[in-house]
């Protein structure tokens, strides 16, 4: 039985037994190469699930939809390792209860999709997988190219990209870690970040979002894919992840018991730049 059929019947079983109230997975998209998030509440609807190498979105973002899990019931969700990582981070930040999430895990290797063993978040030990999870080569190359630039060149690079930003907040909306009821950019007493999409306002927004994700980003790339004006958001989030890893030996999402990196400290944390 292929993995798609296997997970379809598993999903149908979870729904008919009443163990979960909802399953979040993938369905066929508007074109042959697209997949879209699909929500199934009945075993029949579960037969529409699709699972193949085109299913790359991080569906964990739907788990933090306001009110979804407040009835205490369970929800199942199709997740790759980056999605599982997101769930770990969300649990460690008290946004999810581990007993409410059933994970139908899968991994994509080249064009092959394989199931992952486990159903509860604690079943998955992805520390090693995450630590070795390098972003796509083009991201690494771009990051290295930027490191070689002078400060002025870097500023010009980002100015060019951030000038395109239209403040649609697609990056924020698809990100599982952006779950604040009221995002800082929507706060107007005082208005910390300009909502206007001039280059300065765009710079502020993107910088602050990157900072708020430092040490929390699961490197799923959803922000990058969602951006309608093709800003390389993965680059800056990758750099933040690297800093946190280099400076504090911390990798977000290895398990659900980690203390968030900026909410904890070590007495001997590095301080190379302090006068």
């Amino acid at each position: 039985m292929g993995i798609q059929e296997q997970y379809r019947s598993e999903a149908a079983a979870l729904l008919s037994s009443g163990e979960v109230k909802l399953i979040i997975g993938f369905g066929a998209g508007s074109t042959a190469d697209r997949r879209r998030p699909l929500f199934a509440r009945t075993p029949d609807e579960a037969q529409k699930f699709v699972l193949d190498a085109a299913c790359i979105a991080n569906l964990s973002t739907y788990l933090v939809t306001e009110g979804l899990l407040s009835d205490g019931k369970k929800v199942a969700v199709f997740l790759k390792p980056d999605g599982i990582r997101s769930v770990n981070i969300l649990i460690s930040e008290a946004q999810l209860k581990p007993e409410q999430v059933v994970i139908l895990g899968y991994a994509i290797d080249n064009a092959e999709v394989t199931p992952l063993e486990g159903r509860k978040i604690s079943d998955f030990s992805i520390s090693e997988q995450i630590r070795s999870l390098t972003p796509p080569p083009h991201i690494l190359q771009e990051a290295e190219r930027i490191e070689e630039m002078s400060a002025t060149e870097r500023f010009e690079f980002w100015k060019e990209h951030f000038a395109k930003c239209i403040k649609c907040y697609a990056c924020r909306q698809v990100c599982p870690m952006c779950y604040c009821r009221r995002c800082i950019v929507d706060v107007n007493q005082p208005q910390w970040i300009s909502t206007s999409s001039h280059t300065l306002g765009n710079f502020e927004w993107n910088l602050v979002r990157a900072f708020h994700l430092a040490g929390r980003c699961a490197a799923c790339g959803a922000c990058d894919r969602a951006c309608p004006v093709n800003i390389p958001l993965r680059l800056v989030n990758y750099r933040m992840g690297k800093e946190v890893s280099d400076a504090f030996d911390y990798c977000a999402g290895e398990n659900s018991n980690q203390k968030p990196v900026l909410a904890s400290f070590k007495q001997d944390d590095p301080e190379t730049f302090i006068l």
């Binding site: 930027i146 400076a247 730049f273 302090i274 006068l275």
Partner: protein
């Protein structure tokens, strides 16, 4: 005749160490550059990167953030959290091209009035040499002009 460039330095400092240190510099009659504008907060742990960005946006040429030495924080651990935050924020600013010399961090205790005065003088001099922080302020100027399209 155009006026020579006088840097604007904004310093976010904690109450119990650096502010007290600055106070000591004053009572000891130590002279330090008047370019600095001091903003007092209870602890460096309270300092959000928003403050630094706002200061730059409003025309600061250099921003200084200063607090108690590790282990001496009046609130026990505020400066430890701040230190982690600064490490990350500094990497972010460097990566996006905001020169590292424009944001400085220091530990200045309540007894280090001389250190504070010297540090302000050094930073002011260096900033005078670096010149105004035009790249950020140019973005600000663009906002104030009529929109192109």
């Amino acid at each position: 005749m155009s006026e020579p460039f006088e840097p604007k330095i904004v310093a976010f400092v904690c109450t119990y160490c650096t502010y007290a240190g600055a106070d000591l510099a004053g009572t000891s009659r130590l002279k330090y550059a008047p370019n600095v504008r001091i903003v007092r907060l209870p602890c460096t742990g309270r300092i959000s990167p928003m403050f630094i960005l706002k200061a730059l946006q409003k025309g600061a040429d250099t921003v200084l953030v200063s607090g108690c030495h590790p282990g001496d924080c009046h609130f026990t651990a505020g400066n430890y959290h701040a230190r982690r935050r600064w490490t990350v924020f500094r990497a972010l600013l460097a990566f996006t091209g905001i020169p590292e010399e424009r944001i400085r961090f220091s530990w200045v205790s309540a007894a280090e009035g001389a250190k504070f005065a010297e540090m302000i003088n050094d930073i002011t001099d260096e900033t005078r040499k670096l010149g105004p922080f035009t790249q950020y302020q140019e973005l600000q100027k663009v906002i104030e002009t009529q929109s192109s399209y």
